[in-house]
């Protein structure tokens, strides 16, 4: 399953993130050990959405990602995804159907956001962070 290119990462902002002190949750996600639990966690949280995207060639994961990033604000989400609001509503209905109607509830939302970040690391081809690839 190929990772769909994230549409929301502002490159100029990304570039400024150069302190390890500031990488937040990634300090945990890049602990260096292959962690099967994380992999299970990703698929427990996002499995239905990932399967739907793969089967239907859809982009629900990106939609969910941008929706979470915009804290559930539909107008901003639609703008960032370059889609009309009606399309967004249809996608959100589908996401709700797949993940359950309380997916924006705080604990669930935190789990989804963490799973999405971990998913992108795994999809980058690094099933775990291999420091050996980066030795001088």
């Amino acid at each position: 399953m190929m990772r769909k290119k994230s549409s929301f990462c502002n490159r100029s902002t990304c570039f400024k993130k150069f302190f390890y002190d500031k990488i937040g949750i990634y300090q945990i996600l890049l602990l260096g050990e292959k962690n099967e639990y994380v992999e299970t966690f990703i698929y427990d949280q996002l499995g239905p959405v990932l399967e739907y995207d793969a089967k239907m060639n859809a982009s629900l994961l990106t939609t969910l990602e941008v929706y979470l990033k915009n804290r559930g604000r539909k107008k901003e989400t639609a703008n960032e995804l370059f889609i009309v609001r009606q399309t967004l509503y249809h996608r959100l209905e589908k996401i709700e159907e797949l993940l359950g109607y309380q997916f924006m509830e705080p604990a669930r939302r935190l789990a989804l956001e963490t799973a999405i970040l971990a998913y992108h690391i795994y999809q980058s081809g690094h099933t775990h962070f291999n420091l050996e690839d980066y030795q001088l």
């Binding site: 150069f18 302190f19 390890y20 990634y26 990033k69 980066y134």
Partner: protein, 165 residues
């Protein structure tokens, strides 16, 4: 003389980055002014070897290292630098205060590296910088190096987004 000094410094830096034992005296020998009460961060500058014009690449890396050292020195810090292949690692020693003012200083250094490496040589596309958290024990240089590599890894896969940061 200068070359010998640089090679000796490079050897100590490599030893530390590789997590090998290194006596305080060895560090002092190549870095007068070093003392065990200094903290340090590792700055890692990752550059992409140009497709063409790579003949003098080693020389280019050395020049970049020298300029990097100079910029770090201007901020009142001591540094040990190692350059190899496509990256330059600088172990920067400084006096830490309780308000983490060094973060601002390192931001300044980063900014000057951006100007140095990107504008002048690599046109903004092929340089990434990672900076470790601050440590005190030189046995942790290897860990600091890993921190910096992780930041660069995240930049490479374009994941440093707003969420949680």
């Amino acid at each position: 003389m200068e070359e010998n000094k640089r090679v000796a410094e490079e050897e100590v830096a490599r030893k530390l980055l590789a997590g090998k034992d290194c006596e305080q005296a060895e560090i002092k020998a190549v870095l007068p002014g070093y003392s065990a009460n200094l903290h340090f961060r590792v700055i890692l500058l990752k550059v992409t070897k140009p497709q063409s014009g790579t003949k003098d690449w080693e020389e280019t890396l050395l020049q970049l290292s020298a300029m990097m050292k100079n910029r770090i020195k201007k901020k009142g810090m001591l540094s040990l630098i190692s350059a190899a292949k496509d990256e330059i690692a600088a172990i920067c020693f400084f006096k830490k205060d309780e308000h983490n003012h060094d973060l601002a200083t390192f931001s300044d250094i980063h900014q000057s590296l951006v100007q140095l490496s990107i504008k002048d040589r690599y046109n903004g596309k092929h340089t990434m910088t990672g900076i470790s958290k601050a440590y005190k024990n030189t046995a942790d240089v290897c860990q600091a190096y890993d921190d910096a590599k992780k930041v660069i890894f995240l930049q490479q896969i374009n994941l440093l987004q707003e969420i949680f940061l």
